[in-house]
């Protein structure tokens, strides 16, 4: 059963930037749905339309049975939202933060008390409930933040980039909590991320979004299978960018003609060749390139990753888009935080 449904959902910001471009989605009840794409792809904008913080320019979205434009109050009661920025009050205790949210959802004091206790146990914050949040580490704040999105036992929880800015160990912990949530509480989780491993490890199903459009949708395994059996990566050039581009183009032209090659993509000075079996295809690739007078520096064979999936459907790598601009934006956003 679909718990989130969108129909040509579109957001055009004043100034004409189309952040989300006619998205059709169906999220099933109880699943962890991943929304994978680079920064600026339209993930957060989509979440903000689904949780009523932004009004869609056109199209329709039904969340937990309610239209986000017509019944925003009903939508808000049914969902929890954990934003990319940790929205907790440092100058209050963990318990105070959580209790206030209980009141926002109009729960009675007895229920709040009970749930606060259970939630602190769920996110492993027992013992620090009455400490000021300013003494919490980054990972503890994120866990409190997630707990605050759960106090009213929502049907759906939106997690926007839940592990951005956290260290690897804390990230693994957060993943555990997310899985635990889905299992023990039966909550539908809508999660955005630009981390391949996060999407791969957590999501039951995954949509790949780029420039406001959904490029592919399926389980992580299905998506990887759609790429082909193996990916052969060639690094054919170590010269200047102009010669390199010509070189990559020639390589692509030669390899595209081969019968056993399912697809070729070039990005970041590398050529990715999608084939059924990498070991079997490698000699053929070498022969063809040798015949065309193209010399390869390095060849490697790997199972496809979501990065390859992203490359296949968008023609770009997600890594290449992690430019310095986004890093600065993230630093700017964190400028007032203490280090975690």
């Amino acid at each position: 059963m679909a718990i989130i449904e969108t129909e040509r959902l579109t957001k055009i910001f004043p100034g004409g930037v189309t952040a989300v471009d006619g998205i059709d989605l169906e999220v099933r009840e109880g699943e962890i749905f991943g929304f994978l794409g680079p920064n600026g792809a339209g993930k957060t904008t989509t979440i903000k339309m689904l949780n009523t913080l932004l009004r869609p320019t056109s199209g329709k979205a039904i969340v937990a049975g309610f239209d986000v434009v017509k019944n925003p109050a009903d939508v808000r009661r049914s969902i929890g939202y954990v934003a990319q920025d940790v929205g907790v009050d440092e100058h209050a205790t963990g318990r105070e933060n959580l209790t206030l949210y209980g009141h926002f959802y109009r729960l009675d004091s007895k229920t709040i008390k009970e749930r606060v206790k259970n939630l602190f146990a769920l996110v492993d914050l027992e013992g620090v409930e009455d400490k000021m949040v300013s003494t919490y580490s980054g990972g503890m704040r994120k866990r409190l933040d997630i707990a605050m999105g759960l106090i009213h036992e929502p049907k759906i929880i939106f997690l926007d980039e839940p592990t951005v800015g956290l260290d690897p160990q804390t990230r693994t912990h957060i993943w555990d909590y997310v899985r635990r949530l889905a299992k023990s509480m039966g909550i539908t989780i809508f999660l955005t991320t630009h981390y391949m491993d996060e999407a791969d490890k957590l999501a039951d199903r995954l949509a790949i979004i780029d420039r406001g459009k959904i490029m592919a949708l399926g389980t992580p395994d299905d998506l990887k299978r759609s790429v082909g059996g193996d990916v052969v990566t060639l690094s054919p050039c170590n010269t200047g960018p102009a010669e390199c581009a010509a070189f990559l183009e020639r390589t692509r032209a030669v390899l595209s003609g081969l019968s056993f090659v399912k697809g070729v993509q070039t990005a970041d000075g590398e050529v990715s060749v999608f084939v059924e079996s990498g070991e079997a295809a490698a000699p053929g690739i070498m022969r063809a390139l040798g015949g065309a007078g193209i010399e390869i520096q390095r060849l490697s064979v790997s199972r496809p990753t979501l990065d390859d999936v992203f490359l296949k459907y968008t023609g770009r790598t997600i890594r290449a888009q992690e430019g310095s601009a986004t890093t600065f934006a993230q630093m700017a956003r964190k400028r007032n935080r203490r280090p975690s």
């Binding site: 939202y81 934003a83 940790v86 926002f104 109009r106 605050m148």
Partner: protein
Amino acid sequence: MNILADVWYQVIRHWRTQIRMKVWIFVNLFQPILWLVLFTQIFKSLSNLPEMGGSSYLQFFAPGVVVMTVLFGSAWAGMGMLYDIDMGILSKMLATPVSRISIVSSRVLASMTLLLLQGTIIFILALIMGVDIQTGAPGVIFALFIVSLLGLGFAAFSNGLALLYQRPEPLMGTINFLTMPMMFMSSTMMKPELLPDWLDTARHFNPVDYAVVGVRDLVLEGYVWSDLWKSLAVLGAWAIVGLIFGTMMFRLRAE
């Protein structure tokens, strides 16, 4: 009812935040005391002027200190809103069913309670220092009501500006730019008879002056209804305009 509950729980949050800032409490309680003691010393010789009508400057200035305290306190009320915007607390709150009006109004109310407490302390101190309050305790309550209308307007404007600018520098600049001239372009520190003609005209367009005139009447003269009605009407309108501005900015920025 939900709105009242929402306001109440947020007011508690804001009170708790304020009470935990020990330095802030100390400074806020002692600043008006400092003004009362220091300014009456500086301007002591003014009471020799015939225009002062023989009353002491302390007697004249005490009502002004109450108004100044409320003016400066409430004008900064928007700073807390900036923290909520910057920390992502506001946008997280907006994804909950919490009533939208309660977010701004709880902030305004929480600042008002502190200001009324400060006002009460000043009145008590003024009594101790020998100020004779003509209308007694009921007059003090009336005076606190008048200044709370002034503060309500300023606190709402300040929150609205915080939402409009979303950063501290322009907010601080605007507050400094407005509050100082508004205080001096009134009869807060100077009898109207001692003001130049143009300032005596300008003060009639300044809500601060209506608060000062009303409170001073209650302290020095008694119930001068011709002035008091004007104060209530102008400051009531001022508070309403402030709240409308604050709500509009909230809609503009947060929805």
